[in-house]
């Protein structure tokens, strides 16, 4: 790519990224308002003994910027300024810092979501391409049947099945690296052992999420490629002297990948939702379990921070998709 084109690509991506940043800001603020309306931190204190008066409860909430007597606009403004100026996402109704909770959890979850997304795309697209070039062959039929079955299994069931299989493998094959709970083992020291330990813990949850995610890519990529595989331009490419498989690889596949790249961005929220269930089953303390916890505890700030995290993940996915599109489709660079 010549220098001028690189500049164009950078400008294109920057413009897109700015748009997404704006989107995150809007989504987060809307979530704040919605959460403030529907989550009532006072109810956390209702069951406490001795019974507290309304005023007591409100006073207890006041230091955390959750006092319902303060107008919503003021609370919102305080929250916003602290997020923007100090990147402080506030505190829970019991005074626990949101930043302290999400700092570690977001890393754990991002790791899980991003890895499984990458694997789903790779596996799904590869399978889609493989089966599209063997349309109606037995490998096409079998893999399609498997995909349809997997598609209809709920995440929780799939995760449990993965756990059972892993335990069975551990017992029968003498394997001891398939961890079915937690995101790391206690007491591991040193950089390399820590990284290795974390990766081993990642295997099963990532596998589960990949199983949940790949089907969509398999089926859509298959039909997208089938649409272009018989396109006139593939025939033209063959007429210039490419073999059929070369023509498909260089001309049909690249064209058929463009819609997939776009759709990756918008599958991040779905992966994240899947991660909530997966994290619960594998006993991870990630953003998914935090999300459920904050909602059930009427933790406005925690909920909003989780939403912001999901929005950020979506934006990252979208920007990556844009970069991929730019590389796949040079037309974007010109226009």
């Amino acid at each position: 790519m010549p220098g001028g084109e690189v500049r164009l690509v950078v400008r294109h991506v920057t413009r897109k990224a700015t748009g997404w940043l704006l989107m995150i800001v809007v989504a987060t603020n809307v979530t704040y308002l919605l959460a403030s309306f529907f989550l009532d931190p006072r109810s956390n204190f209702k069951d406490l003994r001795p019974v507290r008066s309304e005023a007591q409860i409100d006073r207890a909430l006041a230091p955390y910027n959750l006092d319902p007597r303060v107008p919503l606009v003021d609370r919102w403004w305080d929250w916003l300024t602290s997020v923007v100026l100090h990147f402080d996402w506030g505190r829970s109704p019991t005074g626990v810092s949101v930043n302290g909770e999400i700092g570690y959890r977001s890393l754990v979850s991002a790791e899980l979501v991003v890895l499984s997304l990458v694997f789903s795309v790779l596996a799904g697209v590869a399978l889609g391409v493989y089966t599209a070039s063997r349309q109606y062959g037995w490998s096409d039929r079998v893999s399609q049947a498997v995909s349809v079955v997997v598609f209809n299994v709920p995440t929780s069931v799939a995760a449990l099945a993965v756990v059972f299989v892993a335990i069975w493998l551990n017992q029968h094959a003498g394997l001891h690296f398939l961890y079915v709970a937690g995101e790391n083992a206690p007491g591991v020291q040193g950089l390399l052992p820590t990284v290795g330990d974390r990766l081993l813990h990642l295997i099963l949850p990532t596998l589960t999420l990949t199983l949940m995610g790949y089907v969509g890519y398999h089926l859509t990529q298959r039909s997208l490629l089938l649409d272009t595989i018989n396109a006139d331009f593939v025939r033209t490419a063959q007429a210039t002297g490419l073999t059929r498989s070369q023509a498909i690889r260089r001309h049909a596949l690249r064209t058929a990948l463009i819609p997939t790249a776009t759709s990756v961005a918008f599958s991040v929220p779905a992966v994240f939702t899947g991660a909530i269930v997966t994290e619960t089953i594998f006993g991870w303390s990630g953003m998914g379990s935090y999300f459920i916890q904050t909602i059930s505890k009427n933790d406005v700030h925690g909920t909003v921070a989780t939403a912001a995290f999901a929005a950020a993940l979506t934006a990252i996915g979208a920007i990556l998709a844009d970069v991929a599109t730019v590389f796949l489709d040079p037309r974007v660079r010109v226009s």
Partner: protein, 701 residues
């Protein structure tokens, strides 16, 4: 080489080089649900360097399968037999890898639809350099340089700058030039062009045929030109093979073939082509019936069922292609009789007289011209051009229709002619919209559709105005039977069950369809039958005005003539008014009483069909008429033609003066004063003396 010498391949083999391509008994079949389709059933020919073999046939005759068979581009499910010898090697039975070394290097191919035959995500320079680098060991830089040279050769203006542009930035004609450049990139010895100009406008078609000829001269390649258009073949082929039901039924030098077509099918096909030349249009003689389905063909000549001169023996054995003195090779038992002029292939009943026409030609018969059904005055329609994703900005305006006006009376046909983008379809759709136009006035059956108080009467007009679309397969709901398709408009206007049933039968009879067709689905009908259903459906509510949008362009020539005659009969019997939109001047000439030629949203010339076709005044009309290839090789070679340069400009910024000024041959030779007038003043409609109905808008003509 004298055209008279173009007899058969054997003659040439003696006097010129060895054939570059020899096809022997090529057979191609495809599996289908109904059984094995034998698309090509044993064809043989030799192609000599620098010569052009035209293969003519209707859809389903196997001509495209032949092209794919030669190129080795058949789908994997197809089976091919026989041999295709190229440079001493047989391409049939070669695997894809071996074939890929031949394709592009020894054979180049030009496809039908330039809009879809270029990969959209690569620049044309990249496509061309890739095509070069497949076979030649070139650096990226050298390949790009060569690509620019090739683009220049095929006539892409500013090739160095345009090489970086993507296919969507080119017009159809320009894209076809790129496809030709790709085909000749490695200087192949054989070029195969499959309907190379079918998707293009007629003035662009003339340019592309010239480029193809240039490409052939440049490479010295033999060209296989596959087309359904007999005019294209007449002007560009040395030898012609006529294909029917997967076989060659006649093969001869172009002059012999057109001088006296010997196979009855060829003769009837020629008689069914609507042409633009000559005086009064001769009546078209349709070939009855439909081409056979190529599954389990019965014994005997496949054309026998449609042939007017068939004898009993024709049904027993299929005749082989055999040499007939002076007429190449013909596959017909009665070829000698036809060749000697003893037998008229149109039928034994009329040996000398003109062929019996089921209906007199329109325009010649007495047409009862009644009250004005449609009056359009100064019609304007614009479309906004927007840019940007989320917030659309208006960056321009397309002036699709720009001050169009005409009148149409009952019992009369007006043909709107023009190339794509001239605004003819937009005009039609604006009329059918039945609401206040953006500018100007539309009056249907005396009702101004834009008037405030006319809402109720306009609703009543819905049944008075009906449309017949270009593609009947797309226009008819595939899940409704013909009977239900015809009943639907009647239900919509609230008729009761019994009267609907009666009317449906009436409609079927009216368009010449058997009552049994009523139970079938559109997919089970032939193209001609489908278009008849579409016409019957339009006629259901007894309209006064029928809008026909390219009504014949989806039909084969042999079927077209039947629909043209049907339309003429219906007009006479029901005194309908037709508004026909078409790019095919031959068709328009045969169906219209009056024509209006459109260019860039304006009518540049209008008048009675006779007057406009015999004495065109506007330079655009002249160019349009002369661009149409005539199915007569002698006249096609000798006549003077006005070849327009360039293509119709975009209607975003129409010129302030005459719309045709960019491409006008008269403007180019005019003096400065006149030129200025052309550029700044929009020409008024000028009436032709003594023919007040004929008018044109030109300062110079």
């Amino acid at each position: 080489m004298s055209p008279g010498a173009a007899l058969s391949a054997e003659t040439h083999a003696k006097e010129t080089a060895a054939p570059v391509l020899s096809v022997r008994d090529l057979r191609i079949s495809f599996p289908s649900e109904a059984g094995t389709v034998e698309a090509v059933r044993g064809i043989s020919f030799d192609l000599l360097p620098g010569r052009t073999l035209g293969i003519v046939g209707e859809s389903g005759s196997g001509k495209s399968a032949t092209a794919m068979g030669i190129m080795g581009l058949l789908p994997p499910s197809a089976t091919a037999g026989g041999s295709v010898l190229l440079g001493g090697r047989d391409l049939v039975g070669m695997d894809d890898r071996a074939l890929s070394r031949v394709r592009g290097r020894s054979i180049g191919m030009v496809f039908q639809d330039p809009l879809s035959s270029l990969t959209p995500i690569f620049s044309v320079g990249r496509l061309l350099s890739d095509a070069l680098r497949v076979h030649q060991d070139l650096t990226r830089q050298a390949a790009w340089e060569r690509a620019v040279e090739l683009l220049d050769l095929v006539g892409i203006p500013a090739p160095r700058e345009r090489a970086g542009a993507f296919p969507h930035e080119f017009s159809g004609g320009m894209r076809q030039r790129v496809v030709i450049a790709m085909a000749i990139a490695n200087r192949p010895s054989v070029l195969v062009a499959d309907e190379p100009t079918t998707a293009l406008d007629v003035t662009v078609q003339a340019q592309i045929l010239d480029v193809l000829r240039l490409a052939q001269r440049e490479t010295g390649a033999g060209l296989v030109l596959i087309t359904h258009d007999l005019g294209v073949v007449a002007g560009h082929a040395d030898d012609v093979a006529v294909m029917y039901a997967g076989r060659f039924v006649e093969r001869a030098g172009v002059d012999e073939l057109f001088h006296r077509p010997t196979m009855p099918y060829t003769a009837r096909l020629l008689a069914a082509v609507p042409t633009v030349d000559g005086g009064t249009p001769r009546p078209l003689v349709p070939i009855g019936g439909e081409p056979p389905v190529l599954v389990d063909l019965p014994a005997g000549c496949p054309f026998a069922a449609r042939c007017a001169v068939a004898v009993d023996a024709c049904a027993d054995t299929e005749p082989e292609l055999r040499s007939v003195p002076g007429h190449g090779e013909v596959a017909c038992l009665r070829a000698e009789a036809v060749a000697e002029g003893l037998l008229d292939p149109s039928g034994p009943d009329a040996p000398d007289a003109p062929a019996p026409a089921p209906a007199p030609a329109p325009g010649t018969g007495p047409t009862r011209v009644g009250e004005v059904v449609l009056r359009v005055e100064d019609l304007v329609k614009t479309f906004p051009v927007t840019k940007g994703g989320l917030l659309k900005r208006r960056v321009g305006t397309v002036h699709a229709v720009n001050g169009v006006g005409f009148e149409l009376r009952a019992g009369e046909t007006l043909g709107l002619v023009g190339e794509s983008g001239s605004g003819k379809t937009t005009t039609l759709l604006e009329i059918l919209r039945l609401s206040r136009p953006e500018g100007g006035r539309i009056e249907i059956a005396g009702v101004d559709v834009g008037a405030q108080d006319a809402a109720e009467r306009v609703r009543g007009l819905r049944r008075d105005v009906q449309i017949v679309m270009q593609d009947p397969l797309g226009a008819l709901d595939p899940r409704l039977t013909v009977r239900r398709l015809l009943a639907e408009p009647l239900q919509a206007v609230g008729q009761d069950r019994t009267s609907i049933l009666g009317r449906v039968e009436e409609l079927l009879a009216l368009v010449g369809l058997d009552s049994a067709v009523g139970d079938r689905f559109p997919a089970a009908l032939s193209g001609g039958q489908r278009q008849r259903v579409a016409i019957a459906r339009a006629l259901a509510t007894e309209p006064k005005l029928l809008a026909l949008d390219e009504p014949l362009s989806a039909l084969d020539v042999s079927v077209q003539a039947g629909v043209i005659n049907l339309l003429a009969r219906l007009k006479r019997e029901l005194s309908l008014a037709y508004l026909v939109v078409s790019h095919d001047l031959g068709v328009v000439r045969h169906v219209s009483d009056r024509v209006a030629v459109m260019y860039l949203g304006r009518i540049v010339e209008s008048g009675t069909t006779e007057s406009v076709f015999s004495d065109p005044r506007h330079p655009y009309t002249r160019a349009l008429l002369s661009a149409i290839p005539l199915p007569d090789p002698r006249r096609e070679r000798t006549r003077e033609r006005v070849v327009l340069e360039g293509e119709q400009p975009s209607a975003t910024r129409p010129p302030t003066g005459c719309v045709f000024v960019d491409r006008c041959p008269l403007y180019r030779v005019a003096d400065d004063g006149t030129r200025r007038r052309c550029l700044t003043h929009r020409p008024e409609q000028v009436r032709v003396t003594e023919r007040p109905d004929h008018q044109y808008a030109c300062h110079l003509a």
